[in-house]
């Protein structure tokens, strides 16, 4: 036998007491683990969006409030398509890569699909050179890539998924999002009918993990004609590559197009960032609460335990156990409680996060493994600190009195 066996036998003798002793800590740690796990993945999602869209500017109809950048064009409002020409013929730097879109939900083979009309670059890019000689004096910042001869062999789907703009698309061609292609069993080269018009699928897009996976992209003018919405777009995405240019763009575009709402991805994620900060602060508050409550609960339980075991402690002393041994037994028990509490809290918290993450933050959440060590560390610290005084009390118990009292 060793002291660990001794401790475990005592701990598991009364399982209900074991659970109630650790409950405050387990629940508190679980909440911290859940909040931290959700905010970790939320931050990753934000970071991914910022990486992909960080320099992008979105031009929307006025008074549109959106929470999701990717579905910003589904708000139902409209802008005149003329705004595209206004942008391209303006002398504003950084508006060469535009992605004007018009989205309409339709039904294809009984499935709800978002049909997104997108204006290919080749139909408006030329207008950027209508500045005359002035076009040469614009600084080379967010300029277009000069792959005129397609030396990089980029295909339509690559440009759309990587850059969110499309170079060319014919009036009867479509690009299909990954998820909808799988659902409707569509492949490149197939034909598909939308609103009673046949289209040829020129590409099935790779999975992006965004709403684009459920879209079918067609020529903007085709979508306008099919949906009878006129010469309008629902959003114009200015696809930038440099954040420093994007910063200046908002003011310039707002001045050129005063009847629009011009926003950046960072404005949209600001709400999420604030929520994450709030959750982080909450978790800190929880940490303080569990330290106090959990610590008090453990201290109380330990004192009671020492009191109940005073005869046992007196016997151990009579058998030759030193004060140090008694102290060690109590503190080791606290260590075990701490480890169990941390483990239980981590598992419970992770389960909470996996279930609640998609509802609270709209993201997929996975276990964060380093939090296991944090959870156990915090739990052990609380348990050991809370048990120190009960352990000292036990080590200084008068064995004579202990043996007599019971």
């Amino acid at each position: 036998m060793n002291w660990n066996n001794f401790i475990f036998r005592e701990l598991f003798r009364r399982k209900a007491k074991l659970v109630t002793s650790g409950l405050a800590i387990i629940l508190g740690i679980a909440v911290i683990v859940a909040i931290t796990t959700i905010t970790t993945y939320s931050e990753k999602a934000i970071s991914k969006e910022l990486d992909a869209l960080g320099a992008n500017v979105l031009i929307l109809p006025p008074s549109v409030s959106i929470g999701d950048y990717y579905s910003a064009d589904l708000q139902g409002g409209e802008l005149p398509e003329e705004y595209v020409t206004l942008l391209t013929t303006s002398n504003i730097e950084g508006v060469e890569n535009l992605s004007p879109k018009l989205s309409s939900p339709i039904h294809v083979k009984g499935n709800r699909v978002v049909m997104t009309g997108i204006l290919p670059k080749n139909e408006f890019q030329n207008k950027t050179s209508w500045q005359g000689a002035g076009v040469f004096s614009r600084p080379k910042i967010c300029g277009t890539k000069s792959d005129v001869f397609n030396l990089n062999q980029t295909t339509p789907k690559e440009t759309l998924t990587r850059k969110r703009v499309i170079e060319t698309i014919a009036p009867n061609e479509v690009l299909v999002g990954h998820d909808i292609a799988q659902k409707l069993k569509l492949q490149e080269g197939n034909e598909i009918a939308m609103l009673e018009k046949p289209f040829k699928i020129v590409a099935v897009l790779p999975r992006t993990g965004t709403i684009d996976d459920s879209r079918i992209f067609a020529h903007l003018h085709t979508v306008q004609a099919l949906t009878n919405r006129g010469e309008v777009v629902s959003a114009i995405e200015v696809v930038g590559c440099c954040k420093q240019v994007s910063k200046g763009l908002i003011g310039k575009i707002s001045a050129l197009l005063p009847e629009t709402n011009v926003i950046t991805i960072s404005q949209i994620v600001a709400t999420q960032v604030k929520t994450n900060e709030l959750m982080r602060n909450l978790s800190l508050l929880f940490l303080v609460v569990i330290i106090l409550m959990g610590g008090a609960s453990i201290a109380n339980d330990m004192y009671n335990n020492v009191f109940e075991r005073r005869k046992e402690i007196g016997t151990l002393v009579a058998l030759g156990a030193s004060s140090r041994t008694i102290l060690k037994i109590i503190l080791n028990k606290a260590l075990v409680l701490g480890i169990l509490g941390g483990l239980g809290g981590y598992v419970l918290g992770t389960i909470f996060a996996l279930i609640l993450g998609p509802f609270i933050a709209g993201i997929s959440v996975f276990p964060v493994f380093y939090l296991f060590f944090v959870a156990v560390g915090i739990s052990v610290c609380i348990a050991m600190i809370a048990s120190y005084f009960p352990a000292r009390y036990a080590s200084k118990l008068d064995p004579c009195t202990s043996l007599r009292d019971t």
């Binding site: 500045q131 000689a133 001869f149």
Partner: protein, 234 residues
């Protein structure tokens, strides 16, 4: 009246492609004022337009087109103006290059839309989605032939056979404003070659002799390079 006007426009459009440094009527820039309806904006811009045309004078021709006029639809489709905010001014050089397109404009902007011959040639090539090589040389610059050798070899490559080559004399003062926009020195002793890609990206400036490899490398680097200051994006 409308028929006469259309005839003049057609004549102008069909003859401008062949006009080269002459003082005929075809050498003039064409200013087209497009409008849809007679509203406040149209009237105020039209006023600016009219005054500018009067002041600029003989080096321009101008016409006004109502986009609702069915007889003008070919013109509107040619320049893809169906979804363009009105009023709109389009400025077309004698060789067909568009040297200005404005929804809101000032007299100065209209004046600046009158470009040099060299500028118009370069803009035309770029607007036709071609690579353009500007060969800056005259009888005083050195290595002219060596500079053109690389250019010829480059154009001989089937991939780049559509490249437009524009020769400009660096001492031609009419081109100096344009050359300044490209930050090119006009007091050169060696031939200078500039490779430009659509819409208006200068891919490389080469002093003296050039090689095909230099030019091809510049095209390939541009196709794959980063577009931001210091190469840092995002």
């Amino acid at each position: 009246m409308r028929i006469l006007f259309s005839l003049i426009l057609s004549l102008w459009l069909t003859t401008t492609m062949s006009a080269q440094n002459s003082n005929t009527i075809e050498d003039k820039h064409l200013f087209i004022f497009f409008y849809k309806e007679v509203n406040e904006k149209t009237q105020s811009q039209e006023k600016v337009f009219d005054e500018a045309m009067q002041k600029i004078g003989l080096s321009t021709k101008f016409i006004k087109v109502n986009v609702k006029d069915q007889t003008q639809q070919a013109l509107i489709d040619k320049y893809n103006l169906k979804r363009t905010p009105m009023p709109f001014v389009l400025v077309i050089a004698p060789n067909g290059a568009i040297t200005g397109g404005y929804s809101t404009f000032t007299e100065e902007q209209l004046r600046n839309a009158i470009v040099s011959h060299g500028t118009a040639q370069i803009l035309k090539g770029l607007q036709d989605q071609k690579l353009v090589i500007l060969a800056l040389q005259n009888n005083k610059t050195k290595n002219n032939a060596a500079a053109m050798q690389g250019v010829s070899d480059f154009k001989a490559d089937p991939r780049f056979s559509t490249t437009e080559i524009v020769v400009i004399d660096p001492s031609d003062t009419r081109e100096h404003t344009f050359l300044k926009t490209l930050s090119l020195d006009t007091n050169i002793t060696q031939a200078q070659t500039v490779l430009i890609a659509p819409p208006a990206d200068v891919l490389g400036i080469y002093q003296g002799p050039t090689t095909k490899k230099q030019l091809v490398d510049s095209v390939q680097n541009a196709a794959s390079g980063e577009c931001c200051p210091g190469g840092k994006c995002g």
